[in-house]
Each structure stands twice: as structure tokens, then as C-alpha cells.
Symmetry: C2
Subunit: 208 residues, 2 copies
Amino acid sequence: MNKYSVLNENPFGRQKDFAKMTGAERQTYKKNDIIMQFDDKRSDIGLMETGLSYLVGINAAGEKNILDYYESGNIFGNAFFPHKPVNLYYVIAKTKCTLYKCTYDNMINCCRDDYIEHTKMMNELIISSAQRKQMHVDILSQRTIRNKLLTYFRYIAKDSEEQQIHIPLNLSDLADYISVDRSAMMREIKNMNKDGIIVSKGQIITLK
Amino acid sequence: MNKYSVLNENPFGRQKDFAKMTGAERQTYKKNDIIMQFDDKRSDIGLMETGLSYLVGINAAGEKNILDYYESGNIFGNAFFPHKPVNLYYVIAKTKCTLYKCTYDNMINCCRDDYIEHTKMMNELIISSAQRKQMHVDILSQRTIRNKLLTYFRYIAKDSEEQQIHIPLNLSDLADYISVDRSAMMREIKNMNKDGIIVSKGQIITLK
DNA sequence: ATAGATAAGTTGCAATTGCAACAGACAATT
DNA sequence: AATTGTCTGTTGCAATTGCAACTTATCTAT
């Protein structure tokens, strides 16, 4: 077991510790609010407390993609973007959201006294972001819709429990996240049910 | 400009500083050597000095994908992987490589005296990894081969210089990296030349 | 220098996937 | 309770993409 993996963790008080260490401000957004835009020069960091938000990218043709999604404990920000991104990006509230926001500088340069705890926590947070992207790349690099879905499901499934999973995204948005056409994905889910690989009803899926 | 972006940077002495701070060991690998395997419990960190290496993932069907590639200054390691990866992964030397290796613990917990420099450097390194994955996700989430290629090219192109770029991967491996069939990619490159969007010869591409 | 291996480039054909356009279910709001 | 909007689920058809099978070019090592 990789002890640095925080993908499925949400340690109690993590957001509160974050706020105390960085001076982050607690904010509330309602559904469809823009939480953060990445076309400006500022480099804020957001840490989700409750709700669900999307990182959306828009390419030159105006096509939107869900590039990442954030739930309680997930971190996001311009700092995790390459210099000179080629598309437009923003984080939007899918549901009502509460989160903590601070500047990247505050996150990195603070808390001289308890710097060990601070450093460990910051690294955990930053690495969790990299881990999420690695998972996403792993999904997207699968060549068929079926393998994209299976890879995603296996990541979501926790090993110790039964193989029934609840997908945090609705099926329309899941199709977007794995970057395939929604109707084609629905067709493939139907085929997977027919082939006995999964049993699914909406966002509830049981792996066989 | 995002001052935390290190995608295209390779600060002089970065690897040497890394080694000094972490006690990392310098290693040499020849072409096709396995540099690191992610199926074990250890959590080593690698920092490339020279050469080119690939992060390769193999799914249950035995299909291989190039999930990432590492050149001078790039960092990689198990720590950037989600817990319980669903496929097999290894880092393999595409060319002769030199790199520095240390444990993740050594990278994170060392150098109390100059911890500010250390913290800044470690964060820069970790974030560069997240940035690379963000770029990759951005590429993979494009729905057509043409848009995958254009997104990749625009990331590679440096803004201040002319729009001629040299791709570090050969075309076979590029197809793998953007997760499309090689012959289909070649066909699309031909079409893009025909349409006047690019002028290309092998790995040398000029954006129009 | 030559052979062997690796990579670039091409094309026909098949298959998956995307697109469009539906109907029906469900949720939210007045 | 009715209306509006969002989401699920389905299918025919078209188009992109993948696969297979080549040839030619380039690199590598003996």
C-alpha cells in the first residue's frame, strides 16, 4: 500500500488545518457559480469542503470538456497548470459548494514553527492533485469506451468493500470526463450489462 | 505568466541540488533498461539528468500505453500514483539515461537548516509533475486526432520563438502518447499538411 | 559495407464511435 | 398540480478511427 495516496481519503479537520496554516478564507458558492478562472494572472489555491465542482476546459472551437472534478478534500488551482495553457479553463460549481481559498504563496511560505506538519500536509495535498491527474490520464489513454469505463470503475471501487460503486458524476458528465460521446457510452454500458461484466442502474454500478 | 511553471525549464544545477539535499544516488541506465517498477511496495523518486525515459502502462489485455515521458529535470515516482493502480506500470529507458534516485521519505523529510529553499524546490518539482499530467489530460480529452496533435504542438511551442518545434518523441511513440493509432495519426498529419495548418517533416513541425 | 532492426509513410477495409434526433423518467419551481 | 428543465435511455446513419499489411527510409551494430 502506498501510504502517500490520498485519493479516497478525507481526513477529519484537513480543511480546518489548511485554513489555520495558510489563512485561507471560507467561501460559499451556489450551483453554476464560477469558482475560479484560469485566464488571469493570480494563482489562488482552492480546497473543497463540501459539494462538487468541475474543472472545465474550452478549446478554440468552443467545445467543452470536463478535465477534472473536485469533491471534499480535493485541491485545485492555477499553480497546477502548465505555463501558457492552450485552452480556456474555469472551475464551476456543479452543486452548492463550500471551500477554502488562499494564494499559492501563502500555502507554500508560512508556518515556520510547525513547518514539518505543514510541509507534510502541503505535499500530501499537492501530490493528491498529481495522483488524480495520473488516474485521469490512465483512463483517457484506454483506446475503447469499455476499457475507459472499466478503468474508471476500478479506480473508484475501494478494495476492501464489495464491488458496488456509486459514481459521483451523472452519466452525461461521466461521458464528458472520460471524453466520449454520451450516447456511445450509454450503448457501451448496455452492452457491458448484456455481456455480464457489470450490473448497472444509472450511477449505481456493480462490477462482476 | 505563471511563475510556478517549470514545464519547459531546466535550471542549471537543479539535479545537483536535489542530490545534495536528499542524498540521492546518481545512476546510469542503458537503452531498454527498466528504471523503476511500480508493482512493488517501495516509493522511490527519480529525477532525470540526461536521456529520455517512458512511463509505460499495461492493461489487463496486455496493451501498452505511453502515459508520460521524462527528460532532463522531470521527476517521477510511485508517490505520484493513486493507491491501488489498476494496471501495471514501469519506467523504461528509451535512450541511455542518467538520473538521481532517492526515497520519497528522504525527499520530503530532510534539510532542516535550509528548509525554505528545500521546500520551494520540492514543491516546484512536485508541481511540475502535476503540470505535465494536466497537459497530458488536456491533450487526451480532445476528441479528434487533429485536435490532440494541435493541443500537443501548442504546448510544446515556446511563445517567444518561431513556431517551429522539434518533437522529443518519435512519431510511433507520439501516437502512443496521445493514445491513437499510428497509421491514423500519420494520415491526419498528411491531411493537416494538405490543409496548410502545419508544415512537417518527421519530428520537425512548423505551425502555421 | 552489409545485414538487421527500427521508424516513416501509405492504403483498403472493417468497426467503433460520434452525431442527430428522438421518447420517457425524474427533479425542481411556481 | 402543472410546467419546465435536466437527465436517462435508444437507434439509424455517417464518419472517423483502428487494424492489417505493405513499401521505403533510416539508424545501428558487427
